[in-house]
Amino acid sequence: MDESVSVTPPLPPIPVKRVLFIEDEHFISELYMHTLSKAGYNVKVVFDGLEGFNEAKTNAYDIILLDLMIPSMLGIDLLKRLRAEVPDLRAKILITTNLEQTKEHRKEIEDQADGYVIKAEITPRQMVDFLSHLA
């Protein structure tokens, strides 16, 4: 795994994108870390909502993958606070969850995020493809 993280991508046409992955399920984060790193992304994983919020506030990331059911601070609360406290956030926020929402909650989330995926319905490879289209 460490080897795959250190793989240098063959001169990407754009600078390496930094991804913050806020996910408390260790196997899932390991899986995505592996595939995204192989695809050339620089990935940092945090397992906790509050830690994720503090990390996201640094505005040092291009993409934030945010799970909703995370400890310390729920994903939806993290999203709201981030939008309120960092209005010029440059990262695209993609909700990655397996939790179904009511239509009202989903609308509320989608209004503040840039994408919403059900993890069980895509594979890591499809996620890489998805991120490449996330402007």
């Binding site: 399920e25 196997f27 899932i28 899986l31 995505y32 592996h34 595939t35 059911m69 397996n98 939790l99 179904e100 009511t102 239509k103 059900i118 993890k119 069980a120 319905e121 594979t123 890591p124 490879r125």
Partner: protein
């Protein structure tokens, strides 16, 4: 001496008899006097009541009113009874005052502990009682004068909606009444979904312009318990999805890492694992979405999209599944199809379910053909054709029903039957139709239509939202957006 005693005894007996006779006469006189006095006291109220009736009777106009002050027994009762006689006489003796009747009607409706809505012939709300305003959480003055359909977004469990009943009643009858069980109403002002039974009465000739009266019987708690079961299902689905995410992910990583290093059989096992994990994921989504359809909670957001790209993606994704079952999918797109208005995730599920069925029911080595075309009505039609065993004639009429494939025909057709039920709900919510043509031993063709985006563009233009939002309802909305 003996004779003297006898004479003396006879005289005494005569006196006693006389005395008894006198006493009996006196007792009779006293009893008569007492009875007369008692009659005066006890029957006086009845007499007064009778006198009151005579007094108000047109045939006995000269009869005086009873003097209620003289009543010695049951003074309050007789006062009340006589007043009621006068009240009845005043009501029956002259035509009823309309305003008075209206006031009585409003007083009755206001005191009812049930929500009452009264509509005119344009379904504009003329009156709601306080209970109704409280129930829907909207002040009375904000409800009055509004159209019922724009105010209450009622959803019914069958196509027999309030709207369709009223249209039918208006066309065919003078009066009609109807009761619906389990109606749903979601209002922005209330957190929870209101669920109730509902009764309505229609009267075409009502001079007061009141055409329809609607009464609700709240059962939010009882019906809500069934919704909680759906909540449990969503939690169960969440728990199932995590291991599936991992299973699919790790298989994919292994596939990447071991590419070219596995012998053909191991490579084939790897592909079958991939396909099975994806199939499990589809199945879980189907279960959840069917539950949502049933609970009126599957909402679609239609966007403009290129149909060809969606079909290509699905054919590609299902291609591996077909391949491991030694079948192939051939896609022939129509040229120059217009863009469609679709919820991409949902129509992917429709295509995926239909292709999955075709893969299941095709014999080894057979092709599955996917075609797209433009119908004469300007709709985009997609067909999926297999050359399998076909569907038995007794199953065909029920094919799109939930659990159409039950234990009666399980031997003939395997599977849960949820996929087609869900596909129909999703296609219908897109404004399209789904159909099947099948012959045993020759194969099956299932087709469905979708509306081109241009057909719905006007709706989008008139909407406040950027999307066209649709419900994939087993629940039928009261006033369909499709209705012109």
């Amino acid at each position: 001496m003996l004779a003297g005693w006898w004479i003396g005894s006879s005289l005494l007996q005569a006196n006693v008899t006389l005395l008894l006779l006198i006493l009996s006469v006196l007792a009779a006189i006293v009893a008569l006097l007492f009875a007369r006095m008692a009659t005066n006291y006890v029957l006086e109220p009845v007499r007064m009541l009778w006198q009151a009736i005579l007094h108000v009777s047109p045939e006995h106009a000269d009869a005086p009113a009873p003097n209620l002050q003289t009543a010695k027994v049951g003074h309050e009762l007789i006062n009340s009874l006589v007043l009621q006689v006068y009240q009845l006489a005043s009501n029956s003796g002259k035509p009823a005052d309309k305003a008075q009747i209206d006031n009585v009607a409003v007083a009755i409706a206001s005191s009812l502990p049930l929500p009452v809505f009264v509509m005119d012939r344009n379904q504009v709300i003329m009156y709601v009682n306080d209970t109704a305003a409280k129930y829907v959480g909207v002040p009375t003055n904000e409800l009055m004068g509004k159209n019922l359909y724009s105010t209450l977004d009622l959803a019914f469990s069958t196509t027999d909606t309030f709207d369709s009943w009223l249209a039918d009643a208006k066309a065919k009858t003078l009066t009609s009444s109807r009761v619906w069980e389990h109606v749903r109403l979601k209002l922005p002002s209330r957190q929870e979904m209101l669920q109730f039974d509902m009764a309505a009465y229609y009267n075409k000739e009502n001079p007061a312009n009141v055409e329809t009266i609607m009464v609700l019987f709240d059962h939010t708690k009882r019906y809500g318990e069934a919704d909680d079961e759906n909540g449990m299902l969503e939690l169960a689905v969440h728990e199932l999805r995590t291991p599936i995410t991992l299973l699919r992910g790790y298989i994919e990583v292994l596939d990447d890492e071991l590419k070219g290093k596995l012998d053909p059989q191991m490579a084939s096992f790897m592909q079958k694992m991939q396909v099975s994990a994806a199939q499990l994921s589809t199945f879980i989504s189907n279960i959840l979405n069917v539950a949502r359809v049933e609970a009126n909670q599957l909402v679609l957001q239609l966007h403009e999209d290129t149909w060809d790209s969606i079909v290509r993606t699905t054919v590609h994704d299902l291609g591996l599944r077909a391949m491991v079952h030694n079948k192939t999918i051939e896609y022939t797109p129509a040229a120059n199809l217009p863009t469609v208005a679709v919820d991409r995730v949902s129509v992917y599920e429709v295509l995926s379910n239909l292709l999955d069925n075709a893969i299941k029911y095709s014999p080894d080595g057979q092709k599955i053909l996917v075609h797209t075309s433009l119908t004469n009505d300007g709709l985009v039609e997609t067909t999926i054709q297999d050359f399998g065993a076909g569907i038995p004639a007794n199953v065909l009429p029920h094919l799109f029903e939930k659990y159409a494939r039950n234990y009666h025909n399980q031997k003939q057709v395997s599977g849960t039957g949820l996929g087609l039920y869900l596909s129909k709900a999703i296609v219908s919510a897109h404004g399209g139709n789904i159909w099947v043509r099948s012959k045993e031993d020759e194969g099956t063709t299932i087709g469905f239509t979708l509306q081109p985006y241009s057909m719905l563009a006007a709706e989008l233009k008139n909407s406040d939202n950027k999307d066209i939002v649709r419900g994939a309802y087993g629940w039928i909305k009261n006033h369909s957006l499709y209705r012109k």
